[in-house]
Amino acid sequence: MLIQFKAVSKVYQMGEVAVHALHQNSFTIDSGEFVSIVGPSGSGKTTLLDVIGCLSRPTNGCYLFKEEEVQNLSDRDLARIRNEKIGFIFQTFHLLGRNTALANVALPLFYAGLPKEARMARAREALSQVGLSDRIHHRPNQLSGGQQQRVAIARALVNNPDIILADEPTGNLDSKSGGEIIELLHTLHKHGHTLILVTHDKELAGLTDRTITIKDGRIIGSEDPRKQMEHFR
């Protein structure tokens, strides 16, 4: 078991008002799964992704990531987990515009403390995995949207993470390059990577092994995709 949520809640204090972004959610994700998280905007799926990705701690409940109780970890330990065990892919790519594709991909390894040669070698390898070997010295503004997202995927892969979290990875792309990105994610899954895809695109969600549906901060379904479709009908 890679990820286990036990009655996890997340509450934001907005002045006087407490906003319950997550409400006593329990579920598990195993290694090798390709899971999608769907839900309307404001449903709490981003918060859920933040908690899974160790970007924020749960307010209540227990979150076990590889047997570690995340809610009790220090900021420094969370940074270490994000660095070593989690890869992020974002809707807006989040590449550093000043840096080349290679430097962008190598960035997580810098924080891991690897020497420069090792970083560059692994970054090159990751870029070749996403089919961008010929673009390593290009800057983001010299690349198409689809290529930029592939650089971001290479960056998520470079530290050999236990899990890759993709937040609306096709949201800023046309359907053709979006399709290529999804294809790439499936390839990664086939190679044994664990992936979580956050999306509001049910078609995309339908292509994953399992779909977790969230609404108003509560998980209302964690099912096989076909049954999931019925649920929405």
Binding site: L55, S56, R76, A79, F88, H94, R98, L107, Y111, A112
Partner: protein, 405 residues
Amino acid sequence: MNFIEIFTDAIKNLSSNKLRSALTMLGVIIGVSAVISMSSIVAGGERMIVEMIEKLGTNLLSVRPKKMDKEDRRNTVGRSKGLRYKDAEIVKAMIPHAEKVTPVINVRTHLRHGDNDRSGMAEGVLESYLEIQNYEIDRGRFLSEEDTDRFKKVAVLGKEIVKDLFEEEDPLGKDLKIGNQRFVVIGILKEKGSLHGINYDDTLLIPATTAIKLFNGNDKLTSFVVKVDHRRNMKKTDEMIRNLLLQRHDGVEDFVIRSQDQLIRNTEMIIFTFRVILGGTAALSLMVGGIGIMNIMLVTVTERTAEIGLRKALGASRRAVLAQFLIESTAISLFGGVIGILLGCLMGMGFGLLASRAITGWNAVILPSAVFLGFFFAMAVGITFGLYPAYKAARLDPAEALRYQ
């Protein structure tokens, strides 16, 4: 963590926004160059004054008659004969640290050579005067023991007197009328300049004995000058001369003893005051530069919130983010400091050029200590004022920062 890589990254960031970085550096540049140029000009002035004082001689005691009011004179009538030639001789003989002594007898009179004449002052002195007052002979010779013993009518001239009376003519061996006495010029003094309103080249020296015999009729002294063997014995010697003279003058203190030491100390005070004022101004401008850095770093942190969020998501610890922004602000002050040093040296030399036109001998002296201090303070300012913005960046919540628009 690799500081060199963070540093090169910081430079990349700074050069991607050149105008802003340059303007931010400007505060530091102005501060550092102010420190260096100001201190160089003050140091130059200090060196000039100290050199001048040293030229005049640093361990001198000068003994003069004290101006006494009527009351004092009535009370002491008949007890003391005032400062006499013998006083100087006794001091030379009795006081162990009095290395050299010369009496000085001023004769205010009329000077003439050919058609040129002017009023002036002849000083009757001994041969030791040359060394005591740090004069040097340009041409000819100085007064000798023989001149003194034989009451010779010979004179040694400063450049100013030569210029006024002889113009282009070579004065050596020529006649010079002092009052209505005919003297022969035997030597010319090297130029010495002026200090505190006294022109040391407007000097005419004759043997003390000649001055007494021809002009004064008695051996009353204008003053006498004692060269003390070492500066540390000044106070002691001062005290001993006072006691000796009091004894000889029947307890009447009709003389005053002055030292060059006082002059040096006063000058040092003035220079110290300048230092404090200019140093304070420069420090203030560095402070303002620091505030500029802080301001820009706060803007930078806000602008780059999403980047900070990303770096944190990729595993950057608080320390790594803190280091990144701190190194960036330090880089600003580092470059500002280096440019400020170069500019400050140039400005100091420029000021020195202007100052040397106004006052001969006043040049800029660029002190290594000022360069080091300026640089050190620039770095300190960069770190101090970069700390808060960097701390702010390090404290950002990764999830919020990532989605900051």
